[in-house]
Symmetry: C2
Subunit: 281 residues, 2 copies
């Protein structure tokens, strides 16, 4: 497995690979790799000749610089698990390589960046869109993989790539869950044992939504209120939002119809977790 820190060497390698007809799959990450990431690496290894994983904690998508510093990191473990899942290249630039002095350019995907997680995390999705655009220009993959766990991010990236006439195919990969249903996330390792066990409530609330829809209930008020009951009954869980939105436009819906996204954000003390399911009727 190769490790590149420089944009120029990453670009040169990809140019060479693609000139010899190799398809490139790309999984952008902030490190702290878990089974969710690794499932995408394995899939990319099946669908492409070369798999690139980037590890870059993007300061632009955090409200405060400290938050980026606090983001979990374990480079040695990441390299091992990436390699054994089928990664050929790690792209691991530092902040100055990605945002040199005098950096000035930002991407905004309007409307869908200001809802759900965007309500509290102002500017977060400008940071996400900007770094992903840069990474896609650097790695120039045939296919790039994003997790369904970060559903809003995936919708925004797909919109950006379509709007800006970019070439990579964007593939959204299913959420991988722990045995109790908790969605895999790099943040989970920040949880205490108690918080970890409490956090399973998120998926229980989402399963309740599925259960209600399966029973023929389509009123979103009713569904959200039953979800809220489950979440608020859990000690030490503070609900940030419970939303049911149209899956592409992310517009809040009153009635389950077509493809919708049921999404929750919950704080376990200071640790903020998100999860979602899509329902199609």
């Amino acid at each position: 497995m190769k490790i590149f820190n420089q944009i120029s060497e990453m670009k040169a390698f990809i140019r060479e690979q693609q000139a010899s007809g190799n398809a490139v799959g790309f999984i952008p990450t902030m490190g702290a790799l878990h089974e969710g990431h690794l499932s995408m690496v394995k899939r990319a290894a099946k669908e492409n000749n070369i798999v690139v994983v980037s590890i870059f904690v993007n300061p632009l998508q955090f409200g405060k610089p400290e938050e980026a510093d606090r983001y979990p990191a374990n480079m040695e473990k990441d390299l091992k698990s990436a390699e054994s899942a089928g990664t050929h290249v790690i792209f691991h630039p530092d902040v100055m390589e990605m945002y040199p002095e005098g950096y000035k350019t930002y991407i905004e995907v309007k409307e869908i960046s200001d809802v759900l997680c965007g309500v509290k995390r102002k500017g977060h999705f400008i940071g996400v869109a900007t770094v992903v655009l840069k990474l896609l220009n650097i790695v120039h993959p045939d296919r790039a993989y994003f997790g369904q766990k970060d559903a809003q991010q995936a919708v925004i990236i797909k919109q950006m790539v379509r709007d800006l006439n970019m070439d990579p195919e964007i593939i959204v990969s299913p959420t991988i869950r722990e045995n109790d249903g908790l969605a895999m996330s790099s943040r989970n390792i920040l949880l205490s044992e108690l918080q970890r066990s409490n956090a399973a409530v998120m998926y229980r609330s989402l399963k309740k939504a599925i259960e209600l829809v399966n029973k023929g209930i389509s009123d979103c008020c009713r569904i959200k209120s039953e979800m809220e009951q489950i979440l608020t009954n859990q000690a030490n869980a503070e609900v940030e939002y419970i939303s049911i939105v149209e899956a592409e436009s992310l517009k809040e819906v009153k009635k389950i119809q077509g493809k919708v996204l049921v999404a929750v954000a919950v704080l376990f003390d200071s640790i903020r977790l998100i999860d979602n399911v899509t329902i199609e009727v």
Copy 2:
């Protein structure tokens, strides 16, 4: 000469050309081609195997939709002059092809978009950056050519391409002038005979700046005040700005030092013209 209206056919053509080793030169325009554009086409024809000219009046960069509608257009003449200057492909999409319903993504190059022309034309350079990024992604040129007449635009595009790790080389081509010094611009055909002759005052004011610097004067206040005298002595010319800025950062300077841009914007009744010279000491 081929004419493509669809993004997909433009992309397919370029992919084929570049796969067979042909270098692509690109000149984005809003039509109403003049000698300034054609000098870039001729240069691109020397430096590349394939020359693409886009003709697209970008509604995003006008404050009001009427302004885009008022932009001069003469497609038949444009096609003839583009072809005789060496163009191989015209890319001429319509607005819905470039901005389909639900379009949401915008590029902002901060700081340098808010000065000079950006002071009065709010959002103008978001529109410019966004359309140029899209066009560069569609045409995927080896080299793209921009006129020095639109100096701020050229600086913004270079910054955007560098910041976003894009591949095309950005080439800035010298301003082409009429005999009396008026910079070639698509807007010049909107001028009455009298306005047209009055407009030559802009270049006279810029030449005064060069003359003063050559005499050893470096105080920008003094230079701008002598330029202002020339411009305000001209009947029916309303100065929007006279600025002397550092050539890359576009920050206003007090003393001529290094490479500076001397830029003016003047209204001749409702017709707004811009011009500039660079001075290096």
